[in-house]
């Protein structure tokens, strides 16, 4: 086994045990919410339009469903 694979396996075990670095929790939240690490909003799409680039789908629900099926879903905290 390669060392990076071993390190990865150890990290996966740590996550199962509940040890998730805060930065990774944030990334997981973003992936669940948008399907990407960086949100594409109307603002970004407007910039893309100005640059003659194709517009982006703002959310990708299928990613949420995948993460949800594996018990990784962390709902985006909203008001209420």
């Amino acid at each position: 086994m390669k060392i990076p694979d071993l390190m990865n396996a150890l990290r996966n075990i740590a996550v199962k045990e509940g040890y998730v670095p805060p930065a990774m929790k944030v990334q997981l939240d973003l992936l669940c919410s948008f399907g990407r690490l960086l949100e594409v909003t109307d603002f970004e799409n407007e910039k893309r339009k100005e640059a003659n680039l194709p517009l982006f789908q703002e959310r990708t629900e299928e990613v949420k469903r995948i993460l949800e099926s594996l018990g990784l879903l962390r709902e985006e905290k909203t008001q209420g």
Partner: protein
């Protein structure tokens, strides 16, 4: 060295995979890659349903990463397209998952059962994953690139930054070149007419991998490379990964503050350099979006400010 670039007359169509960073924080990379591809008859098609490649979740849950990668690959597969990425980490993540799914039938079966159950998709393993510079190097080839060169860049000395994911792992990419002594980016730079310089720790990571966890370490890694590149009096650093760009361009001011020094080292994506050599205007290559203005560099080329 240029002889090692292959020549090919078969440009192809690819699904352009942009990932998370390029469409938001590196639009200039996307703009320049699309312009250069157009000139070289490489067709880049868009799939709006593409998501994150899965790389960020790999260390949290390897299986979730495989499902996310397989989902993206299935989107390209149903259109009969190869995947071309601009981000080296996306390329590595998708290629590695692809390799695992192609090699391990039991794993592919399990992934497909879960994919189908959750989102009604399947991936049969027919897609090829590559990076834009590999398309230029292996499919477009030197002959075609040289035929498009219109501007003399011989006054420029630039530092290539390969980053971590473009040559490794060789078990996934094959030995397209020596991962400990890669030449492809140097050769592509030389093909533009600019000079590719050598410098200490050329293959060192940009530091981006630890940015979210220990900014001090990440900035120190970025600083070390900027010091080595400055020592060789480079006109710019040239790279092929949006995350490496975040370290060297977006964080250069932060590094300067920590190091109490000034680099003002322009950071170009390779398609921007190639586009300039092809005679495209800086505006067409998104150079106005570069945070560190390559004004002096452009003066060297055209005698004009950027």
């Amino acid at each position: 060295m240029k002889k090692r670039l292959k020549d090919s007359a078969i440009p192809s169509e690819y699904a352009l995979f942009l990932g998370c960073t390029v469409p938001v924080r590196a639009i200039h990379y996307e703009i320049s890659a699309r312009r250069v591809a157009e000139r070289l008859d490489v067709q880049l098609s868009d799939i709006s349903e593409f998501s994150c490649c899965g790389y960020p979740i790999k260390s949290l849950n390897h299986y979730a990463y495989l499902l996310m990668a397989a989902r993206n690959l299935s989107l390209a597969e149903e259109r009969g397209l190869s995947v071309c990425t601009l981000c080296s980490a996306c390329c590595g993540a998708l290629a590695e998952a692809n390799h695992a799914l192609q090699e391990d039938e039991d794993l592919r079966k399990r992934v497909n059962e879960d994919l189908f159950k959750r989102i009604g998709r399947r991936y049969e393993g027919s897609v090829r994953v590559t990076h834009f510079i590999r398309v230029l190097q292996e499919e477009v080839g030197e002959k075609k690139i040289l035929s498009e060169i219109q501007t003399d860049l011989s006054a420029l000395h630039v530092a290539p930054h390969y980053g971590c994911h473009i040559t490794k792992p060789t078990t996934v990419y094959g030995r397209v070149e020596d991962p400990e002594n890669p030449k492809s980016l140097d050769q592509l730079i030389e093909a533009t007419g600019a000079h590719s310089i050598s410098y200490e720790d050329k293959l060192q990571c940009c530091g981006g991998a630890v940015l979210a966890f220990d900014e001090g370490v990440a900035l120190a890694m970025g600083r070390a490379k900027l010091d080595h590149i400055r020592a060789r009096q480079a006109d710019a650093i040239v790279l092929v990964c949006p995350f490496c760009n975040i370290m060297y361009e977006s964080n250069q001011k932060k590094i300067e503050k920590v190091a109490q020094t000034e680099y003002k080292l322009p950071v170009l994506f390779y398609p921007q350099l190639l586009g300039l050599a092809m005679g495209l205007e800086p505006e067409e290559l998104g150079i106005k979006m570069n945070r560190i203005k390559p004004t002096e560099m452009l003066k060297k080329i055209h005698g004009r400010a950027g």
